[in-house]
Protein backbone atom coordinates (compact mmCIF):
# COMPACT_ATOMS: atom_id res chain seq x y z
CA UNK A 1 0.00 0.00 0.00
CA UNK A 2 2.76 2.33 0.97
CA UNK A 3 4.81 1.62 -2.16
CA UNK A 4 1.82 2.34 -4.34
CA UNK A 5 1.39 5.79 -2.81
CA UNK A 6 4.84 6.75 -4.07
CA UNK A 7 3.90 6.12 -7.68
CA UNK A 8 2.47 8.98 -9.75
CA UNK A 9 -1.25 8.99 -10.28
CA UNK A 10 -2.14 6.75 -13.21
CA UNK A 11 -3.82 9.63 -15.02
CA UNK A 12 -0.95 12.12 -14.52
CA UNK A 13 0.37 13.60 -17.79
CA UNK A 14 3.23 11.42 -18.98
CA UNK A 15 4.59 13.76 -21.62
CA UNK A 16 7.97 15.22 -20.73
CA UNK A 17 8.91 18.69 -21.93
CA UNK A 18 10.38 18.42 -25.41
CA UNK A 19 13.99 19.54 -25.85
CA UNK A 20 12.80 22.24 -28.27
CA UNK A 21 10.52 23.77 -25.65
CA UNK A 22 13.25 23.54 -23.02
CA UNK A 23 15.77 25.22 -25.32
CA UNK A 24 13.26 27.87 -26.31
CA UNK A 25 12.64 28.68 -22.66
CA UNK A 26 16.36 28.95 -21.94
CA UNK A 27 16.78 31.23 -24.94
CA UNK A 28 13.93 33.47 -23.84
CA UNK A 29 15.69 34.03 -20.50
CA UNK A 30 18.64 35.49 -22.41
CA UNK A 31 17.63 39.16 -22.66
CA UNK A 32 20.33 40.37 -25.09
CA UNK A 33 19.66 37.54 -27.50
CA UNK A 34 15.94 38.15 -27.37
CA UNK A 35 16.46 41.84 -28.12
CA UNK A 36 18.81 40.94 -30.97
CA UNK A 37 16.10 38.63 -32.31
CA UNK A 38 13.66 41.54 -32.35
CA UNK A 39 16.20 43.72 -34.19
CA UNK A 40 16.80 40.97 -36.74
CA UNK A 41 13.06 40.50 -37.21
CA UNK A 42 12.72 44.22 -37.84
CA UNK A 43 15.42 44.16 -40.53
CA UNK A 44 13.71 41.20 -42.23
CA UNK A 45 10.35 42.96 -42.03
CA UNK A 46 11.83 46.14 -43.53
CA UNK A 47 13.25 44.09 -46.39
CA UNK A 48 9.91 42.39 -47.02
CA UNK A 49 8.02 45.69 -46.95
CA UNK A 50 10.59 47.50 -49.13
CA UNK A 51 8.18 48.23 -52.02
CA UNK A 52 5.71 49.85 -49.60
CA UNK A 53 8.18 51.69 -47.38
CA UNK A 54 10.72 52.96 -49.91
CA UNK A 55 10.08 56.61 -50.82
CA UNK A 56 11.63 56.15 -54.31
CA UNK A 57 12.22 53.23 -56.70
CA UNK A 58 15.71 51.86 -55.89
CA UNK A 59 17.12 52.63 -59.35
CA UNK A 60 15.48 56.03 -59.79
CA UNK A 61 18.23 58.42 -60.83
CA UNK A 62 17.84 62.13 -60.14
CA UNK A 63 20.83 63.81 -61.78
CA UNK A 64 19.85 67.14 -60.27
CA UNK A 65 20.29 65.78 -56.74
CA UNK A 66 23.63 63.97 -56.77
CA UNK A 67 25.50 63.18 -53.52
CA UNK A 68 23.13 65.25 -51.38
CA UNK A 69 23.44 65.01 -47.59
CA UNK A 70 20.41 63.80 -45.61
CA UNK A 71 17.42 66.12 -45.98
CA UNK A 72 13.62 65.90 -45.59
CA UNK A 73 13.22 64.70 -49.22
CA UNK A 74 16.02 62.14 -48.88
CA UNK A 75 16.18 61.09 -45.21
CA UNK A 76 19.57 59.35 -45.64
CA UNK A 77 20.82 61.47 -48.55
CA UNK A 78 21.51 60.44 -52.15
CA UNK A 79 24.42 58.63 -53.77
CA UNK A 80 26.67 59.95 -56.52
CA UNK A 81 24.09 59.18 -59.22
CA UNK A 82 21.31 60.90 -57.29
CA UNK A 83 19.63 57.68 -56.13
CA UNK A 84 17.84 57.74 -52.78
CA UNK A 85 20.01 55.90 -50.23
CA UNK A 86 17.15 54.93 -47.90
CA UNK A 87 15.24 53.28 -50.75
CA UNK A 88 18.32 51.44 -51.99
CA UNK A 89 19.07 50.23 -48.46
CA UNK A 90 15.56 48.75 -48.17
CA UNK A 91 15.77 46.95 -51.52
CA UNK A 92 19.43 46.07 -50.90
CA UNK A 93 18.36 44.33 -47.70
CA UNK A 94 16.32 41.90 -49.80
CA UNK A 95 19.31 40.96 -51.96
CA UNK A 96 21.82 40.80 -49.11
CA UNK A 97 19.57 38.80 -46.78
CA UNK A 98 18.49 36.48 -49.60
CA UNK A 99 22.08 35.75 -50.60
CA UNK A 100 23.17 35.18 -47.00
CA UNK A 101 20.17 32.99 -46.09
CA UNK A 102 20.35 30.82 -49.22
CA UNK A 103 24.11 30.43 -48.98
CA UNK A 104 23.80 29.40 -45.34
CA UNK A 105 21.11 26.85 -46.17
CA UNK A 106 23.42 25.31 -48.77
CA UNK A 107 26.33 25.29 -46.32
CA UNK A 108 24.17 23.80 -43.57
CA UNK A 109 22.95 21.04 -45.86
CA UNK A 110 26.48 20.17 -46.99
CA UNK A 111 27.99 20.42 -43.52
CA UNK A 112 25.28 18.34 -41.86
CA UNK A 113 25.11 15.59 -44.48
CA UNK A 114 28.86 15.26 -44.99
CA UNK A 115 29.55 15.49 -41.25
CA UNK A 116 26.99 12.79 -40.44
CA UNK A 117 28.14 10.48 -43.23
CA UNK A 118 31.79 10.84 -42.18
CA UNK A 119 31.01 10.33 -38.51
CA UNK A 120 28.65 7.40 -39.00
CA UNK A 121 30.57 5.36 -41.55
CA UNK A 122 34.06 6.17 -40.28
CA UNK A 123 36.94 4.41 -42.03
CA UNK A 124 38.22 5.79 -45.30
CA UNK A 125 35.10 7.89 -45.93
CA UNK A 126 35.80 9.71 -42.69
CA UNK A 127 39.52 9.99 -43.37
CA UNK A 128 38.98 11.56 -46.80
CA UNK A 129 36.41 14.00 -45.49
CA UNK A 130 38.32 15.02 -42.39
CA UNK A 131 41.49 15.62 -44.40
CA UNK A 132 39.58 17.65 -47.01
CA UNK A 133 38.11 19.85 -44.31
CA UNK A 134 41.50 20.36 -42.65
CA UNK A 135 43.00 21.19 -46.01
CA UNK A 136 40.37 23.72 -47.01
CA UNK A 137 40.55 25.38 -43.58
CA UNK A 138 44.27 25.93 -44.05
CA UNK A 139 43.80 27.88 -47.28
CA UNK A 140 43.12 31.61 -47.63
CA UNK A 141 39.56 31.07 -48.87
CA UNK A 142 39.10 34.61 -50.05
CA UNK A 143 41.83 34.29 -52.69
CA UNK A 144 40.02 31.29 -54.10
CA UNK A 145 36.64 33.04 -53.95
CA UNK A 146 38.02 35.92 -55.99
CA UNK A 147 39.72 33.63 -58.53
CA UNK A 148 36.60 31.51 -59.06
CA UNK A 149 34.29 34.52 -59.27
CA UNK A 150 36.45 35.95 -62.04
CA UNK A 151 35.56 33.16 -64.48
CA UNK A 152 31.87 33.02 -63.63
CA UNK A 153 29.38 35.41 -65.17
CA UNK A 154 28.09 37.87 -62.56
CA UNK A 155 24.89 36.60 -60.97
CA UNK A 156 23.30 36.40 -57.56
CA UNK A 157 23.18 32.59 -57.73
CA UNK A 158 26.93 32.33 -58.30
CA UNK A 159 27.52 34.36 -55.16
CA UNK A 160 25.15 32.08 -53.24
CA UNK A 161 26.89 28.98 -54.57
CA UNK A 162 30.40 30.15 -53.90
CA UNK A 163 29.67 31.28 -50.33
CA UNK A 164 27.70 28.10 -49.62
CA UNK A 165 30.43 25.86 -51.01
CA UNK A 166 33.19 27.45 -48.92
CA UNK A 167 31.54 27.87 -45.50
CA UNK A 168 30.34 24.36 -44.57
CA UNK A 169 33.68 23.22 -43.16
CA UNK A 170 33.28 24.20 -39.51
CA UNK A 171 29.82 22.68 -39.28
CA UNK A 172 30.91 19.40 -40.88
CA UNK A 173 33.66 19.13 -38.28
CA UNK A 174 31.26 19.67 -35.37
CA UNK A 175 28.55 17.35 -36.67
CA UNK A 176 31.14 14.66 -37.31
CA UNK A 177 32.38 14.95 -33.74
CA UNK A 178 28.86 14.67 -32.33
CA UNK A 179 28.00 11.68 -34.49
CA UNK A 180 31.23 9.91 -33.52
CA UNK A 181 30.07 9.86 -29.91
CA UNK A 182 26.39 9.27 -30.68
CA UNK A 183 26.93 6.20 -32.84
CA UNK A 184 28.35 4.26 -29.89
CA UNK A 185 25.20 4.80 -27.78
CA UNK A 186 22.72 2.07 -27.03
CA UNK A 187 19.82 3.53 -28.98
CA UNK A 188 21.84 3.40 -32.18
CA UNK A 189 22.93 -0.13 -31.40
CA UNK A 190 19.26 -1.00 -30.81
CA UNK A 191 18.23 0.52 -34.14
CA UNK A 192 20.98 -1.38 -35.89
CA UNK A 193 20.05 -4.62 -34.13
CA UNK A 194 16.48 -4.17 -35.34
CA UNK A 195 17.84 -4.05 -38.87
CA UNK A 196 17.33 -0.35 -39.64
CA UNK A 197 19.24 0.68 -42.78
CA UNK A 198 21.99 3.28 -42.44
CA UNK A 199 19.95 5.97 -44.18
CA UNK A 200 17.13 5.56 -41.69
CA UNK A 201 19.45 5.58 -38.69
CA UNK A 202 21.08 8.78 -39.94
CA UNK A 203 17.83 10.55 -40.75
CA UNK A 204 15.63 9.39 -37.88
CA UNK A 205 18.03 8.80 -35.00
CA UNK A 206 21.13 10.90 -35.57
CA UNK A 207 19.70 14.01 -37.22
CA UNK A 208 17.41 15.01 -34.32
CA UNK A 209 20.35 14.67 -31.95
CA UNK A 210 22.63 17.00 -33.90
CA UNK A 211 19.86 19.53 -34.59
CA UNK A 212 20.92 21.80 -31.70
CA UNK A 213 24.48 22.46 -32.84
CA UNK A 214 23.31 22.68 -36.44
CA UNK A 215 20.85 25.46 -35.58
CA UNK A 216 23.52 27.35 -33.61
CA UNK A 217 26.14 27.17 -36.31
CA UNK A 218 23.66 28.00 -39.06
CA UNK A 219 22.85 31.20 -37.21
CA UNK A 220 26.47 32.15 -36.65
CA UNK A 221 27.25 31.23 -40.27
CA UNK A 222 24.60 33.64 -41.46
CA UNK A 223 26.58 36.55 -39.97
CA UNK A 224 29.68 35.38 -41.83
CA UNK A 225 27.71 35.03 -45.06
CA UNK A 226 26.41 38.59 -44.75
CA UNK A 227 29.97 39.85 -44.27
CA UNK A 228 31.37 37.78 -47.17
CA UNK A 229 28.63 38.98 -49.53
CA UNK A 230 29.34 42.57 -48.54
CA UNK A 231 33.09 42.11 -49.09
CA UNK A 232 32.72 40.35 -52.47
CA UNK A 233 30.23 42.92 -53.73
CA UNK A 234 32.45 45.72 -52.41
CA UNK A 235 35.26 44.36 -54.60
CA UNK A 236 32.87 44.30 -57.57
CA UNK A 237 32.94 40.49 -57.69
CA UNK A 238 29.67 39.76 -55.93
CA UNK A 239 26.11 40.70 -56.69
CA UNK A 240 25.93 42.33 -60.18
CA UNK A 241 26.72 46.03 -59.78
CA UNK A 242 23.39 47.27 -61.17
CA UNK A 243 21.47 45.53 -58.39
CA UNK A 244 21.22 47.32 -55.06
CA UNK A 245 22.98 45.34 -52.32
CA UNK A 246 24.68 46.60 -49.18
CA UNK A 247 28.09 45.60 -50.50
CA UNK A 248 27.53 47.32 -53.84
CA UNK A 249 26.48 50.51 -52.08
CA UNK A 250 29.77 50.44 -50.17
CA UNK A 251 31.76 50.28 -53.43
CA UNK A 252 30.23 53.62 -54.34
CA UNK A 253 30.92 54.77 -50.78
CA UNK A 254 34.68 54.34 -51.15
CA UNK A 255 35.07 57.10 -53.75
CA UNK A 256 32.45 59.19 -51.98
CA UNK A 257 34.27 58.98 -48.65
CA UNK A 258 37.38 60.59 -50.15
CA UNK A 259 35.31 63.62 -51.13
CA UNK A 260 33.85 63.85 -47.63
CA UNK A 261 30.36 62.49 -48.45
CA UNK A 262 30.14 60.51 -45.21
CA UNK A 263 26.49 59.49 -45.57
CA UNK A 264 27.12 57.35 -48.65
CA UNK A 265 29.37 54.73 -46.96
CA UNK A 266 28.02 55.21 -43.41
CA UNK A 267 24.48 53.85 -43.67
CA UNK A 268 24.99 50.65 -45.71
CA UNK A 269 27.91 49.63 -43.49
CA UNK A 270 25.96 50.42 -40.34
CA UNK A 271 23.14 48.20 -41.54
CA UNK A 272 25.57 45.34 -42.28
CA UNK A 273 27.05 45.81 -38.80
CA UNK A 274 23.65 45.89 -37.05
CA UNK A 275 22.38 42.84 -38.93
CA UNK A 276 25.55 40.77 -38.45
CA UNK A 277 25.69 41.80 -34.78
CA UNK A 278 22.05 40.83 -34.21
CA UNK A 279 22.61 37.47 -35.91
CA UNK A 280 25.75 36.82 -33.84
CA UNK A 281 23.98 37.70 -30.58
CA UNK A 282 21.04 35.43 -31.43
CA UNK A 283 23.60 32.72 -32.23
CA UNK A 284 25.38 33.24 -28.89
CA UNK A 285 22.04 33.04 -27.09
CA UNK A 286 21.12 29.83 -28.88
CA UNK A 287 24.54 28.41 -28.13
CA UNK A 288 24.11 29.00 -24.41
CA UNK A 289 20.59 27.60 -24.53
CA UNK A 290 21.62 24.47 -26.45
CA UNK A 291 24.95 23.67 -24.76
CA UNK A 292 24.03 24.47 -21.16
Amino acid sequence: MKARALLPRPDAPLKAESPWVRTGRAFARHRTALLAGVVLGTVVLLALLAPILAPYPPDYIDLTARARPPSPEHPLGTDRLGRDIASRLLFGARVSLFVAATAVLLATFLGTVLGMVAGYFGGWVDAVLARTVDALLSLPTFFILVAVQSILPPSVWNVVGIIGLTTWLGLARIVRGQVLSLREREFILAARALGAPAGRIIARHLLPNVAGPVVVFTTLGMADAILIEAALSFLGLGVPPFEASWGNMLTDGQVAALSGAWWIPLFPGLLVLITALAVNLVGDGLQQAVFR
Binding site: S138, Q149, L258, N280
Partner: protein, 319 residues
Protein backbone atom coordinates in the same frame (compact mmCIF):
# COMPACT_ATOMS: atom_id res chain seq x y z
CA UNK B 1 58.03 14.82 -33.74
CA UNK B 2 59.78 13.90 -37.00
CA UNK B 3 56.89 11.60 -37.91
CA UNK B 4 54.44 14.39 -37.21
CA UNK B 5 56.46 16.83 -39.26
CA UNK B 6 56.57 14.45 -42.22
CA UNK B 7 52.83 13.86 -41.97
CA UNK B 8 52.09 17.58 -41.85
CA UNK B 9 54.36 18.42 -44.78
CA UNK B 10 52.88 15.51 -46.72
CA UNK B 11 49.39 16.74 -46.00
CA UNK B 12 50.37 20.26 -47.08
CA UNK B 13 51.80 18.96 -50.35
CA UNK B 14 48.66 16.91 -50.96
CA UNK B 15 46.49 19.98 -50.42
CA UNK B 16 48.62 21.96 -52.84
CA UNK B 17 48.32 19.18 -55.41
CA UNK B 18 44.52 19.27 -55.13
CA UNK B 19 44.52 23.06 -55.32
CA UNK B 20 46.75 22.92 -58.39
CA UNK B 21 44.36 20.46 -60.10
CA UNK B 22 41.47 22.79 -59.32
CA UNK B 23 43.51 25.77 -60.50
CA UNK B 24 44.38 23.98 -63.72
CA UNK B 25 40.75 22.99 -64.28
CA UNK B 26 39.72 26.57 -63.72
CA UNK B 27 42.32 27.78 -66.17
CA UNK B 28 40.74 25.53 -68.79
CA UNK B 29 37.15 26.30 -67.91
CA UNK B 30 37.90 29.98 -68.26
CA UNK B 31 36.26 31.44 -71.33
CA UNK B 32 38.56 32.55 -74.14
CA UNK B 33 41.20 30.77 -76.21
CA UNK B 34 44.75 31.87 -75.28
CA UNK B 35 45.86 31.64 -78.90
CA UNK B 36 43.05 33.88 -80.12
CA UNK B 37 43.64 36.15 -77.15
CA UNK B 38 47.30 36.68 -77.97
CA UNK B 39 47.17 36.81 -81.77
CA UNK B 40 43.92 38.67 -82.15
CA UNK B 41 40.92 37.75 -84.29
CA UNK B 42 42.71 38.01 -87.68
CA UNK B 43 43.77 34.36 -87.89
CA UNK B 44 41.66 31.70 -89.57
CA UNK B 45 40.38 28.70 -87.63
CA UNK B 46 43.06 26.45 -89.25
CA UNK B 47 45.88 28.79 -88.33
CA UNK B 48 44.61 29.00 -84.75
CA UNK B 49 44.46 25.23 -84.61
CA UNK B 50 48.07 25.03 -85.82
CA UNK B 51 49.15 27.40 -83.06
CA UNK B 52 47.16 25.45 -80.49
CA UNK B 53 48.82 22.23 -81.60
CA UNK B 54 52.24 23.83 -81.41
CA UNK B 55 51.50 25.04 -77.87
CA UNK B 56 50.24 21.62 -76.85
CA UNK B 57 46.72 22.84 -76.21
CA UNK B 58 45.28 20.04 -78.36
CA UNK B 59 46.81 17.31 -76.20
CA UNK B 60 44.64 15.38 -73.71
CA UNK B 61 44.06 17.31 -70.48
CA UNK B 62 46.02 15.02 -68.11
CA UNK B 63 49.11 15.39 -70.29
CA UNK B 64 48.65 19.15 -70.34
CA UNK B 65 48.25 19.09 -66.58
CA UNK B 66 51.50 17.23 -65.95
CA UNK B 67 53.34 19.54 -68.29
CA UNK B 68 51.91 22.54 -66.43
CA UNK B 69 52.75 20.95 -63.07
CA UNK B 70 56.34 20.14 -64.03
CA UNK B 71 56.87 23.77 -65.00
CA UNK B 72 55.07 24.90 -61.89
CA UNK B 73 57.33 23.02 -59.48
CA UNK B 74 60.27 24.68 -61.20
CA UNK B 75 58.60 27.98 -60.28
CA UNK B 76 57.79 28.68 -63.92
CA UNK B 77 54.25 29.99 -63.69
CA UNK B 78 54.00 31.23 -67.26
CA UNK B 79 53.66 34.80 -68.43
CA UNK B 80 51.19 37.42 -67.39
CA UNK B 81 48.52 38.06 -70.03
CA UNK B 82 48.62 41.78 -69.45
CA UNK B 83 52.29 42.64 -70.00
CA UNK B 84 54.04 39.38 -70.90
CA UNK B 85 56.29 39.45 -67.82
CA UNK B 86 56.96 36.18 -66.00
CA UNK B 87 54.30 35.59 -63.38
CA UNK B 88 56.97 34.72 -60.82
CA UNK B 89 58.47 38.19 -61.17
CA UNK B 90 55.07 39.89 -60.80
CA UNK B 91 54.28 37.91 -57.66
CA UNK B 92 57.68 38.35 -55.99
CA UNK B 93 57.43 42.09 -56.57
CA UNK B 94 54.16 42.20 -54.60
CA UNK B 95 55.13 39.77 -51.85
CA UNK B 96 56.99 42.17 -49.48
CA UNK B 97 54.06 44.59 -49.25
CA UNK B 98 51.71 41.80 -48.15
CA UNK B 99 54.27 40.46 -45.68
CA UNK B 100 54.63 43.90 -44.05
CA UNK B 101 50.89 44.30 -43.87
CA UNK B 102 49.95 40.88 -42.48
CA UNK B 103 52.91 40.75 -40.07
CA UNK B 104 52.02 44.19 -38.70
CA UNK B 105 48.36 43.25 -38.41
CA UNK B 106 49.26 40.04 -36.56
CA UNK B 107 51.50 42.00 -34.17
CA UNK B 108 48.80 44.58 -33.47
CA UNK B 109 46.14 41.90 -33.00
CA UNK B 110 48.36 39.96 -30.56
CA UNK B 111 49.57 43.01 -28.63
CA UNK B 112 46.22 44.73 -28.20
CA UNK B 113 44.09 41.58 -28.07
CA UNK B 114 46.10 39.88 -25.33
CA UNK B 115 46.55 43.03 -23.23
CA UNK B 116 42.88 43.97 -23.36
CA UNK B 117 41.85 40.36 -22.76
CA UNK B 118 44.01 40.15 -19.61
CA UNK B 119 42.78 43.48 -18.25
CA UNK B 120 39.21 42.42 -18.87
CA UNK B 121 39.75 39.11 -17.08
CA UNK B 122 41.20 40.75 -13.97
CA UNK B 123 37.81 42.19 -13.03
CA UNK B 124 35.29 39.75 -14.45
CA UNK B 125 31.73 41.07 -14.73
CA UNK B 126 32.81 44.65 -13.98
CA UNK B 127 31.61 47.47 -16.23
CA UNK B 128 35.01 47.46 -17.94
CA UNK B 129 34.77 43.75 -18.66
CA UNK B 130 31.27 44.24 -19.97
CA UNK B 131 32.37 47.11 -22.22
CA UNK B 132 35.30 45.08 -23.59
CA UNK B 133 33.11 42.05 -24.31
CA UNK B 134 30.53 44.23 -26.07
CA UNK B 135 33.19 46.00 -28.10
CA UNK B 136 34.80 42.75 -29.21
CA UNK B 137 31.42 41.37 -30.32
CA UNK B 138 30.76 44.56 -32.29
CA UNK B 139 34.23 44.42 -33.90
CA UNK B 140 33.68 40.80 -34.82
CA UNK B 141 30.40 41.65 -36.56
CA UNK B 142 31.58 44.74 -38.43
CA UNK B 143 32.76 44.56 -42.03
CA UNK B 144 36.39 45.58 -41.51
CA UNK B 145 36.64 47.35 -44.87
CA UNK B 146 33.73 49.55 -43.83
CA UNK B 147 35.44 50.45 -40.56
CA UNK B 148 38.45 51.22 -42.75
CA UNK B 149 36.37 53.55 -44.90
CA UNK B 150 35.14 55.39 -41.82
CA UNK B 151 38.69 55.64 -40.43
CA UNK B 152 39.89 57.05 -43.77
CA UNK B 153 37.06 59.56 -43.65
CA UNK B 154 38.05 60.67 -40.13
CA UNK B 155 41.85 60.47 -40.14
CA UNK B 156 42.63 61.23 -43.79
CA UNK B 157 39.81 63.35 -45.16
CA UNK B 158 38.76 65.37 -42.10
CA UNK B 159 41.82 65.46 -39.86
CA UNK B 160 44.44 64.97 -42.59
CA UNK B 161 46.74 63.09 -40.19
CA UNK B 162 47.30 59.91 -42.17
CA UNK B 163 47.50 59.08 -45.88
CA UNK B 164 44.48 57.25 -47.29
CA UNK B 165 46.16 55.08 -49.90
CA UNK B 166 49.38 53.54 -51.21
CA UNK B 167 52.59 52.49 -49.53
CA UNK B 168 54.65 55.65 -49.89
CA UNK B 169 54.22 59.32 -50.69
CA UNK B 170 54.37 60.18 -54.39
CA UNK B 171 56.69 63.07 -53.78
CA UNK B 172 59.35 63.34 -51.15
CA UNK B 173 61.87 60.81 -49.91
CA UNK B 174 60.94 57.29 -48.90
CA UNK B 175 61.72 56.94 -45.23
CA UNK B 176 60.73 54.36 -42.62
CA UNK B 177 58.47 57.02 -41.05
CA UNK B 178 56.69 57.54 -44.34
CA UNK B 179 56.11 53.79 -44.76
CA UNK B 180 54.89 53.56 -41.18
CA UNK B 181 52.35 56.35 -41.62
CA UNK B 182 50.98 54.54 -44.68
CA UNK B 183 50.96 51.24 -42.84
CA UNK B 184 49.07 52.32 -39.69
CA UNK B 185 45.50 52.40 -41.02
CA UNK B 186 45.54 49.26 -43.23
CA UNK B 187 47.37 47.16 -40.62
CA UNK B 188 45.02 48.29 -37.86
CA UNK B 189 41.92 47.61 -39.98
CA UNK B 190 43.20 44.17 -41.01
CA UNK B 191 43.93 43.28 -37.38
CA UNK B 192 40.46 44.12 -36.00
CA UNK B 193 38.65 40.81 -36.51
CA UNK B 194 41.52 38.73 -35.17
CA UNK B 195 41.95 41.21 -32.32
CA UNK B 196 38.31 40.66 -31.37
CA UNK B 197 38.74 36.86 -31.29
CA UNK B 198 41.95 37.18 -29.28
CA UNK B 199 40.27 39.38 -26.67
CA UNK B 200 37.55 36.77 -26.21
CA UNK B 201 39.89 33.77 -26.04
CA UNK B 202 42.43 35.46 -23.77
CA UNK B 203 39.72 36.68 -21.43
CA UNK B 204 38.07 33.27 -21.22
CA UNK B 205 41.40 31.51 -20.64
CA UNK B 206 42.54 33.99 -17.99
CA UNK B 207 39.25 33.89 -16.08
CA UNK B 208 39.56 30.09 -15.86
CA UNK B 209 43.20 30.11 -14.80
CA UNK B 210 42.89 32.95 -12.28
CA UNK B 211 40.26 30.99 -10.39
CA UNK B 212 42.61 28.06 -9.74
CA UNK B 213 44.26 27.13 -6.48
CA UNK B 214 47.87 27.66 -7.51
CA UNK B 215 47.05 31.31 -8.22
CA UNK B 216 45.66 31.67 -4.69
CA UNK B 217 48.85 30.08 -3.41
CA UNK B 218 50.99 32.50 -5.42
CA UNK B 219 49.05 35.42 -3.95
CA UNK B 220 49.25 33.94 -0.45
CA UNK B 221 53.03 33.70 -0.80
CA UNK B 222 52.93 37.48 -1.18
CA UNK B 223 54.06 37.66 -4.80
CA UNK B 224 53.42 41.02 -6.43
CA UNK B 225 50.20 40.99 -8.46
CA UNK B 226 51.90 41.61 -11.83
CA UNK B 227 54.03 38.53 -11.29
CA UNK B 228 51.00 36.43 -10.38
CA UNK B 229 49.11 37.57 -13.44
CA UNK B 230 51.88 37.54 -16.02
CA UNK B 231 54.21 34.77 -14.88
CA UNK B 232 51.84 32.35 -13.24
CA UNK B 233 48.48 32.85 -14.89
CA UNK B 234 49.21 34.14 -18.38
CA UNK B 235 51.80 31.50 -19.19
CA UNK B 236 49.12 28.86 -18.92
CA UNK B 237 46.35 30.92 -20.46
CA UNK B 238 48.58 31.79 -23.43
CA UNK B 239 48.91 28.24 -24.72
CA UNK B 240 45.55 27.90 -26.43
CA UNK B 241 46.06 31.40 -27.79
CA UNK B 242 49.22 30.30 -29.61
CA UNK B 243 47.27 27.61 -31.47
CA UNK B 244 45.03 30.35 -32.80
CA UNK B 245 47.92 32.00 -34.62
CA UNK B 246 48.06 29.10 -37.07
CA UNK B 247 44.40 29.73 -37.86
CA UNK B 248 44.89 33.48 -38.10
CA UNK B 249 47.45 33.30 -40.90
CA UNK B 250 45.04 32.10 -43.61
CA UNK B 251 42.39 34.51 -42.31
CA UNK B 252 44.73 37.51 -42.34
CA UNK B 253 46.04 36.73 -45.82
CA UNK B 254 42.46 36.25 -47.04
CA UNK B 255 41.43 39.52 -45.39
CA UNK B 256 44.29 41.33 -47.11
CA UNK B 257 42.36 41.05 -50.39
CA UNK B 258 39.72 43.55 -49.27
CA UNK B 259 41.98 45.73 -47.12
CA UNK B 260 44.65 46.08 -49.82
CA UNK B 261 41.99 47.01 -52.36
CA UNK B 262 40.55 49.60 -50.01
CA UNK B 263 43.90 51.21 -49.26
CA UNK B 264 45.47 50.70 -52.74
CA UNK B 265 48.19 48.73 -50.95
CA UNK B 266 50.45 47.24 -53.64
CA UNK B 267 50.43 43.65 -52.37
CA UNK B 268 49.24 40.19 -53.38
CA UNK B 269 45.66 40.75 -52.26
CA UNK B 270 45.18 43.66 -54.61
CA UNK B 271 47.04 41.80 -57.36
CA UNK B 272 44.53 38.95 -57.21
CA UNK B 273 41.64 41.40 -57.63
CA UNK B 274 43.39 43.17 -60.51
CA UNK B 275 44.11 39.83 -62.15
CA UNK B 276 40.50 38.73 -61.63
CA UNK B 277 39.17 41.81 -63.41
CA UNK B 278 41.72 41.57 -66.23
CA UNK B 279 40.97 37.82 -66.59
CA UNK B 280 44.71 37.37 -66.21
CA UNK B 281 44.54 33.64 -65.50
CA UNK B 282 48.26 32.77 -65.29
CA UNK B 283 48.72 35.40 -62.56
CA UNK B 284 45.55 34.26 -60.77
CA UNK B 285 46.57 30.60 -60.72
CA UNK B 286 50.18 31.26 -59.82
CA UNK B 287 49.01 33.38 -56.93
CA UNK B 288 46.39 31.00 -55.60
CA UNK B 289 48.83 28.09 -55.44
CA UNK B 290 51.81 30.11 -54.22
CA UNK B 291 49.89 31.98 -51.54
CA UNK B 292 48.32 28.66 -50.53
CA UNK B 293 51.81 27.21 -50.10
CA UNK B 294 53.02 30.17 -48.04
CA UNK B 295 49.98 30.05 -45.79
CA UNK B 296 50.31 26.31 -45.19
CA UNK B 297 53.98 26.84 -44.32
CA UNK B 298 53.08 29.68 -41.95
CA UNK B 299 50.48 27.59 -40.14
CA UNK B 300 52.94 24.72 -39.82
CA UNK B 301 55.54 27.03 -38.25
CA UNK B 302 52.92 28.35 -35.82
CA UNK B 303 52.05 24.80 -34.74
CA UNK B 304 55.73 23.99 -34.24
CA UNK B 305 56.08 27.13 -32.13
CA UNK B 306 53.30 25.74 -29.98
CA UNK B 307 55.30 22.57 -29.35
CA UNK B 308 58.34 24.65 -28.41
CA UNK B 309 56.31 26.86 -26.05
CA UNK B 310 54.73 23.95 -24.22
CA UNK B 311 57.05 21.04 -23.47
CA UNK B 312 54.00 18.93 -22.63
CA UNK B 313 52.97 18.90 -26.28
CA UNK B 314 54.25 15.84 -28.09
CA UNK B 315 52.96 15.69 -31.62
CA UNK B 316 52.45 12.30 -33.16
CA UNK B 317 52.61 10.32 -29.91
CA UNK B 318 49.75 9.45 -27.64
CA UNK B 319 50.33 10.57 -24.08
Amino acid sequence: MTGYLIARVGQGLFVLLVVSILAFGLLHLAPGDPAALLYGPDLSADELKAIRTAWGLEDPLPIQYFRWLSRFVQLDFGRSFSDGRPVREVILERLPATLYLTASALTIALGVGITVGIISALRPLSWLDYAVTTLSTVLYSAPNFWLGLILVLVFSVWLGWLPSAGMQSVRGPTSPGDLLSHLVLPAFVLSLREMASLIRYTRAGMVDVLAQDYIRLARAKGLPEYQVVLDHAFRNAALPVITLIGLFIPRLVGGSVVVETLFSWPGLGRLVVEAAFARNYPVLMGEVVLVGALVILGSLLADLAYAVADPRIRYGKSR
